[in-house]
């Protein structure tokens, strides 16, 4: 029976080749998108599951009493280093404790005395690291890997890249953190670890011994600390025990300080600490959105896409019903039960879904490299650790879709009354047509919504890209290094260099330094940016009134400020030559210039009212305060300038290469996420619109076929081509009109919400709504008309012949 059903299913699919192809292709597209999301979810879920032992590892999290957010203390993944000793001594069943953290600065490495280059993902840990995290070693062993101060462990990939197949254990490399400030350290490679099977939050190239720090009550070091127990712990119990030993310790320390860190404690709150399973560190990140939240819009989009394809599928199947009616009638007469008919139709659906799945997987496999690059991921369908899981999920997905898209048509088709059907005066496909209309309407709503959405998103992004940011990022490099006067003077003398300046309110770095200023007897906390005398000219700031800082005015380094437009507005306008005081009226400064707002953070946020104050540095020796050196040059001489700059740098600092970035690139990067969002919505729009149109196309074909008789009668009654044309288009056009009416308010609300995230945004335009309306109506008419053409051309005699 099954074999026969399968045979009939295949024949049926083959008979309607074109529709089958459309059906399968549409569903494959929807599936491909969905599988991609599935892979992504698998990838994220698999974080740090590379060893069973990791279930026994916990992160120590401490309540941060020192920087409150709106009066509330937040949990942090970093905790006081002294907690490690406390946990080891005070909690039962502790196997080991360790800490591991990533270096903040760029680090340069020298291998085999070849040229220095920067590496990222350098982690520092103590000697217990491998007792907590059971990494597998290719060379060396966990016990001896990080024993000494200058031991280094490298990853499999890193070893392969720089040492090839040679065992690197025993080799000595030089690591430099930052020129002049940190000495270059020599490290001996003691081990190479195998790449874990799943992604991990410690994605390190190089792991080195962390320096031993002396803890005192005055010197606190907060680092990510991890504990491994001999078995999995009851979280609540273990946290209670930990809290019990932690609280008196912290309370004593706070008392010694004679300073309660915040209002927070006065309200009866206590310092607190807790242990969280290692697995949750990636799944529930503390100071950022977790991946599921970030993924939500994409999940929504791809579900919509899949929904559209399922609707197409259902519509096609029910529309086909008419041509299958006779078959159903005959089968029933010959003794088929309804259940067996349902089974047969479901089998047909399953067959198509399965084909679609295979096609979808192939499609995804083709586009995966591109998607991986776009979203900087490393997904693959046939990953060793997930292949079994993925297959199971896919089988589940196919079953689900088969049921979703197949059960209604199957029940609908199998319900035909044989004597009605076989008599021949069977009312053609009227049943279920309302549902079909509703489903197609829904597709139209989605498609129109996408279309309007992408138009508005594009114009907002275009608006941002073309908006004047108040400065000119071209021909500026940002040097993330301290420079002394000698060095900066040498660079200033390179031909083509215009300015070597300091401006710590730039795109790359803009620490929010604020200070209280008084004007008109009103104290306000204002954003303050330190520049040197040329710091504003160097970034091409635009003067509205007054002058820039310059050398001719001696007072500029202490007694004058420049303010931005927003601040002038805040103070009520016309601020030139007015005086502002700060430090409790002890310092009085004069406003000598007003500049246009400099939008270093892009256009998402309003640029704050800002005071620019000059210092006398030519360049800065400070590394930690975000004082940043900017070099402005003539773009025509870029090559020459960079070559000379590199040459001078190499002489001054052989083990630490020049690290700089183009401010223009950094500025463009601000728009990357928006641009990516746009691209994604564009892709989804394109897919959803084309899927809807494919659906409409095939549905129109079936409906037209069903109405052949009616069309023939009308023609015989004297209808000409034009009449038939309008008759057949009318329904779809009304439907599209309705979809526009429904989609407009929905998308209006959604886009309004999105636009509200930008401080500088376009007014909600009417134009996209109009365009969407016109285009959707035209495309509908065109799609339907291709089908209608045949009906119009057909000879009515053929349709009216009495059988």
């Amino acid at each position: 029976m099954f074999k026969l059903n399968l045979k009939i299913a295949l024949r049926n699919l083959y008979k309607n080749k074109a529709y089958t192809a459309i059906n399968i292709a549409g569903l494959a597209l929807g599936l491909a998108g969905f599988i991609f999301i599935l892979l992504y979810i698998n990838y994220e879920k698999s974080y740090d599951t590379w060893d069973k032992e990791l279930d026994k590892v916990y992160q120590v999290q401490e309540l941060d009493l020192f920087s409150l957010k709106e009066g509330k203390a937040e949990w942090r993944g970093e905790s006081d280093g002294r907690l490690r000793e406390m946990i080891k001594a005070g909690l039962p069943n502790v196997v080991a404790v360790t800490h591991v953290y990533e270096a903040e600065q760029d680090e340069a490495i020298v291998i085999d005395n070849k040229g220095a280059f920067f590496i990222n993902d350098v982690q520092r840990a103590d000697s217990m690291f491998f007792s907590v995290f059971p990494y597998k070693f290719i060379h060396g062993n966990p016990a001896g890997a990080l024993r000494n101060l200058n031991d280094m462990v490298i990853s499999e990939d890193f070893a392969k890249k720089y040492f090839g197949d040679v065992n690197p254990v025993g080799k000595v490399v030089k690591l430099t953190s930052q020129a002049w400030v940190n000495q270059t350290t020599h490290y001996t490679i003691t081990g190479v670890i195998a790449k874990p099977e799943t992604p991990s939050i410690f994605d390190f190239n190089v792991l080195v011994q962390a320096p031993n720090l002396k803890f005192t009550d005055r010197a606190l070091y907060f680092r990510p600390n991890y504990v491994k127990f001999s078995e999995k712990q009851n979280e609540q119990n273990i946290n209670q025990s930990l809290q019990k030993i932690y609280e008196p310790f912290r309370a004593a320390m706070l008392k010694k300080w004679k300073w309660s860190p915040s209002e927070y404690l006065k309200n009866g709150n206590k310092p607190a600490v807790r242990l969280k399973p290692f697995y949750s560190v990636h799944q529930e990140p503390l100071q950022q959105e977790d991946w599921l939240k970030q993924l939500k819009p994409i999940i929504l989009l791809s579900s919509l896409l899949l929904l559209i394809s399922i609707i197409n599928f259902m519509n096609m199947f029910t529309a086909q019903a008419v041509s299958r009616a006779k078959e159903v009638g005959i089968r029933k007469v010959t003794g088929a039960s309804r259940a067996s008919l349902i089974k047969q139709f479901l089998l047909e659906t399953a067959l198509q879904c399965f084909c679609a799945l295979i096609l979808g997987v192939i499609l995804l496999e083709l586009f995966l490299p591109y998607l991986n690059e776009q979203f900087s991921l490393a997904l693959s369908i046939a990953d060793s650790y997930s292949i079994g899981l993925v297959s199971l999920q896919l089988i589940g997905l196919v079953t689900l879709i088969t049921l979703l898209s197949g059960i209604y048509p199957a029940i609908f088709l199998s319900s035909y009354d044989p004597h009605n059907v076989l008599k021949g005066n069977f009312a053609q496909g009227k049943k279920g047509s309302k549902l079909r209309v509703a489903l197609v309407g829904m597709q139209f709503v989605i498609a129109v919504g996408f279309f309007i959405g992408i138009l508005i998103i594009s114009s907002q992004i275009k608006y941002m890209e073309s908006r004047d940011p108040g400065f000119d990022p071209t021909g500026i490099i940002y040097v993330n290094e301290p420079m002394n006067k000698v060095l900066s003077d040498r660079i200033r003398n390179i031909e083509g260099v215009k300015y070597v300046a300091v401006n710590n309110g730039n795109v790359r770095r803009h620490p929010n330094i604020t200070a209280d200023y008084k004007y008109n007897n009103e104290v306000k906390e204002l954003n303050t940016v330190f520049v040197n005398l040329e710091g504003l000219q160097a970034v091409g700031a635009k003067l509205i009134n007054g002058r820039f800082f310059d050398k001719l005015h001696k007072q500029d380094t202490s007694r004058t400020v420049i303010i931005n437009e927003s601040l002038e507005k805040l103070y009520g306008g016309d601020m030139l030559n007015k005086y502002i005081t700060y430090n409790n009226d002890s310092v009085r400064v004069q406003v000598v210039g007003i500049i246009k707002d400099i939008q270093v953070t892009g256009f998402d946020k309003v640029s704050p009212p800002t005071i620019y104050t000059a210092s006398e540095f030519n360049a800065t020796d400070y590394t930690n305060d975000g004082f940043a050196n900017l070099v402005t040059y003539d773009t025509k001489k870029e090559k020459h300038v960079l070559a000379e700059f590199n040459k001078i740098w190499r002489q001054a600092s052989p083990d630490y290469p020049l690290s700089f970035s183009f401010l223009e690139h950094d500025f463009k990067k601000l728009f990357v996420s928006h641009e990516r969002f746009k691209q994604m919505v564009k892709l989804f729009s394109l897919l959803s619109i084309s899927l809807s149109m494919i659906g409409l196309f095939s549905l129109a074909a079936f409906m037209t076929r069903q109405r052949t008789k009616e069309i023939a009668i009308r023609k015989v009654l004297g209808a000409d081509d034009k009449d038939i044309f309008f008759l057949l288009n009318k329904g779809y056009l009304w439907l599209m009109l309705g979809a526009n009416v429904v989609a407009c308010p929905l998308i209006y609300i959604a886009v309004q919400h999105w636009l509200a995230g930008f401080a500088y945004r376009i007014e909600m335009p009417v134009f996209p709504f109009l365009i969407a309306f016109i285009v959707s109506i035209l495309v509908t008419a065109l799609t339907v008309s291709v089908q209608v053409k045949n009906a119009v051309k057909a000879n009515p005699v053929d349709a009216l012949k009495y059988e």
Binding site: A427, Q428, R714, V716, L717, G718, D723, N795
Partner: protein, 227 residues
């Protein structure tokens, strides 16, 4: 002369073999005649009727309808011609299922671009004449076969054609209903001078008319005048 057929031929060529449906049909039909086309199955009756109704084209021959050479006309002109002169009645009624009785009857008037007021009055008028006023808002599947055929005829007449072409108009009906329909045709023919051409199997039905064309294997075997 209303209809002039000269040497009409119709065949399908299949792999070089011509299978004839109509051969050397030459005849003419005058205004006010009630012609029955008879013959066994496959004799070409329906094809002849379709050619007369301009739904099909002959392979060869000349067809003049009210003095105009139909075959030389373009499609638009041809549609105009039959829109204003020909009413069709079918064996399977061919009413539009989604339309009420009144709407079905109104349909041909829509295509003749007749104003709404006049359409309404003509439909009302014809419903009245056929005593179907009470059924105006019913759908075809709520009517009996005979009633459906009445609607079909009403629809054919509402556009005030000069000729009615009927393909086995009583083929699906019981005899009592069939007699009613044939009586109606006869009345239309005699009282209003309507030209009617019907295809029929039934001698009785043919007896209502004024002339019988006997077709056999695509050839007119006999042309009998009953008057």
């Amino acid at each position: 002369m209303m209809i002039e057929l000269k040497n009409i031929e119709k065949y399908y060529a299949n792999k070089g073999v011509k299978s004839y449906i109509l051969r050397h049909i030459t005849t003419s039909i005058k205004q006010g005649e009630f012609v029955s086309i008879m013959g066994p199955s496959g004799a070409g009756k329906s094809t002849l009727l379709n050619i007369l109704g301009m739904l099909e084209e002959p392979t060869y021959g000349d067809y003049e309808f009210m003095g105009e050479n139909v075959l030389s006309l373009n499609e638009r002109k041809r549609i105009d011609l039959y829109r204003s002169h020909i009413g069709f009645v079918f064996q399977a009624y061919h009413l539009i299922d989604e339309m009420t009785v009144a709407e079905n009857i109104e349909a041909p008037l829509l295509y003749k671009k007749i104003g709404s007021a006049e359409r309404k009055s003509r439909v009302a008028d014809i419903l009245d004449r056929f005593s179907m006023v009470a059924k105006r808002d019913l759908f075809p599947n709520q009517l009996s076969g005979g009633q459906q055929q009445l609607v079909g005829i009403a629809r054919a007449l509402v556009a005030q054609p000069s000729i009615i072409l009927a393909d086995e108009p009583t083929g699906n009906l019981q005899s009592v209903q069939a007699i009613q329909i044939m009586e109606l045709f006869k009345r239309l023919n005699e009282e209003e001078g309507m030209t009617i051409i019907q295809v029929t199997h039934s001698e009785i039905n043919a007896g209502y008319g004024s002339r019988i064309l006997h077709l056999l294997d695509g050839i007119i075997k006999e042309d009998v005048n009953l008057k």
